[in-house]
């Protein structure tokens, strides 16, 4: 979006700068307290989800946050059933392959559109960008018919194919390759590297932070994707975590401690990844948000 030019390029790094030191007056203390309470409220749903997943059924209806007799029984029960393992693996495979595909192809296309001069370049750029305006929901019916025709229903390929490349990622990468000086590329050409080598060994390492931001977004997007996997899968073994959880929730009916356990299983991995790479992910979100 045009927003990018108007915010200074390095705004993502500005997040790491600190606010000017101010004396701890009453106003600041009150501000801190209110924001702290708001923050606690924000994470409450997640905390209650985890807390309930550790409770025995008879305790579920209590509002206490810390279980009286914490138990892993719900996890054992849900995992022993076996389906969650399969769904977890499915989601992991699909999100990983899609992420790799996006990192490779989006950056290759972004790089080509940014660094090559050739007839038709502008048209292709506009064409790819215009797909941003097409909502996924408009495409699911034709995708379904296509999958039916080619036997892609209920396969990994069927779940993955719509997301293998994204216009958003292409645009993001194009923006970042603008920061790679043309001189570097020229120098590599004189050294006798071919174009593929230049892209992979010279340009790609220079945009690593952007690649990471793209990878985070694509992975999270596919890990939580719901509507297309719901449509394209029909056997329990092929479900992804969100689709599996949705059917599991219906089936568990009023056994909320089991539903919370399933929800926790599908949420905790991304939360852990976030807590480890926090600073890095937030910077990536800003980059993707402002430049994409």
């Amino acid at each position: 979006m045009a927003v990018a030019e108007e915010i200074r390029a390095s705004s993502e790094t500005l997040l790491d700068t600190k606010a000017p030191r101010k004396p701890a007056n009453m106003g600041q203390i009150l501000r801190w307290l209110l924001l702290f309470l708001g923050g606690i409220a924000m994470v409450m749903p997640i905390v209650y989800m985890i807390s309930t997943s550790l409770k025995w059924p008879h305790e579920v209806y209590n509002v206490n946050l810390i279980p009286n007799e914490p138990t892993l029984e719900n996890y054992t029960f849900v995992l022993e059933d076996g389906r969650f393992y399969g769904w977890f693996i499915n989601s992991l495979i699909i999100a990983t392959i899609t992420t790799i595909s996006n990192v490779l192809f989006d950056s290759l296309v972004g790089y080509t559109l940014c660094k090559f001069r050739f007839p038709g370049r502008y048209i292709i750029f506009i064409a790819i960008l215009s797909t941003l305006m097409i909502p996924t929901e408009m495409l699911v019916i034709p995708w379904y018919l296509m999958s039916q025709q080619f036997g892609w229903l209920d396969t990994y390929w069927g779940i993955m194919f719509p997301g293998l490349m994204t216009a958003f990622g292409t645009f993001l990468m194009k923006q970042f390759f603008e920061t790679v000086p043309d001189d570097f590329i020229e120098a590599a050409r004189i050294d006798g590297l071919n174009e593929l080598q230049i892209w992979w060994t010279v340009a790609m390492p220079l945009v690593k932070p952007a690649l990471a931001a793209l990878a985070i977004f694509v992975f999270l997007g596919n890990w939580t994707a719901f509507i297309w996997p719901l449509i394209v899968t029909n056997s329990v073994e092929m479900y992804t975590l969100p689709v599996g959880l949705s059917t599991f929730g219906d089936e568990a009916d009023v056994q909320w401690e089991l539903i919370m356990t399933g929800a926790a299983i599908s949420t905790i991995p991304t939360l852990i990844v976030f807590l480890i790479f926090q600073r890095f992910i937030i910077r990536g979100v800003v980059m993707a948000g402002l430049k994409g």
Partner: protein, 295 residues
């Protein structure tokens, strides 16, 4: 043969070589289906029988379907409530968080955490919160304080905001981070100058901060509006026993599309709805960009 090409020509060959697979992808997976959806919207087809031309019949059916108008209104309600509420909350939090040093990273983490969750998982968590006593958390709290029960999901008036709440909640973290980046990008010298002139905090906010944040606000408004117009995961999972209910009070356009296509197998009708969704998204994005354009 390649050897005889000039450097410029070689570049063209490489460029098209790099683009070959992606172009194929975009044509087959993006452009063809777009056209295909539009074509199907003019056909009558239930997946099994024959495809017959229906002209504008699907659109006429849509126009005369009271459920469609209800759904259309719901979809805009999600937008009209969701966007301003999340914009105001995220700005207020970002504005104040920006002024704090103590445990800044920790507070930011608290606000951002919900963004990393899966919509389906959180829809089920919130669905549990909303249950009546003795099950649901919210009503249990109300009962502890002796406040009458609130029907959240089983109510034609409360259900839509109740379904919307987790969607707003999950998106706040992203918007707060974007706002903070926007705030940090405003040059300090502006504030210094204002301070020297002795301008009040409110004036600084209205005359300096908000105007300079305009691009950030445009981005967040467009981004979140598109998200709310396409709401599906939360509604689907919070109302599985009566999809989009009660009495269609929570049904958004995407859920209606899903039901028309994959439970009624009325492909032409569903495709016509997707065309409407496309036009709505296009109109809303263009309208907002125009309203918030630089003067």
């Amino acid at each position: 043969m390649y050897r005889n090409l000039s450097i410029k020509q070689k570049q063209i060959v490489w460029a098209w070589g790099f683009l070959a697979i992606p172009i194929l992808f975009y044509v087959i997976i993006r452009f063809y289906p777009t056209g295909n959806a539009m074509v199907i919207s003019f056909q009558d087809w239930n997946l099994l029988g024959s495809r017959t031309w229906a002209g504008w019949e699907n659109y006429a059916k849509l126009w005369n379907d009271p459920v469609f108008w209800k759904v259309f209104a719901n979809t805009f309600l999600y937008l009209i409530i969701g966007t301003p509420v999340s914009l105001v909350i995220s700005f207020v939090v970002a504005y104040h968080l920006d002024k704090l040093r103590f445990m800044h990273g920790f507070l930011r983490m608290l606000y951002f955490l919900p963004f990393m969750t899966s919509a389906v998982a959180m829809a089920w968590v919130w669905r549990w919160f909303y249950q009546p006593v003795p099950i649901g958390l919210f009503n249990n709290f109300l009962a502890d304080f002796g406040i009458p029960q609130i029907e959240f999901l089983r109510s034609t008036t409360n259900a839509l905001p109740a379904v919307l709440a987790p969607a707003v909640w999950a998106g706040l973290g992203f918007q707060i981070i974007i706002f903070m980046a926007g705030l940090r990008a405003i040059p300090r010298s502006y504030y210094e100058a204002a301070r020297i002139d002795g301008v009040s905090t409110w004036t600084v906010l209205w005359e300096i901060t908000l105007p300079l944040l305009r691009p950030t606000i445009v981005f967040i408004v467009v981004f979140s509006s598109i998200g709310f117009l396409r709401i599906f995961d939360h509604v689907f999972n919070m109302t599985t026993n009566d999809p989009g209910g009660p009495l269609n009070s929570t049904k958004p356009l995407v859920l209606m599309i899903y039901q028309s296509a994959f439970t009624d197998f009325d492909m032409g009708y569903a495709a016509a709805q997707t065309v409407v969704l496309f036009l709505v998204l296009l109109a809303v994005s263009l309208l907002q960009l125009w309203l918030l354009r630089d003067r």
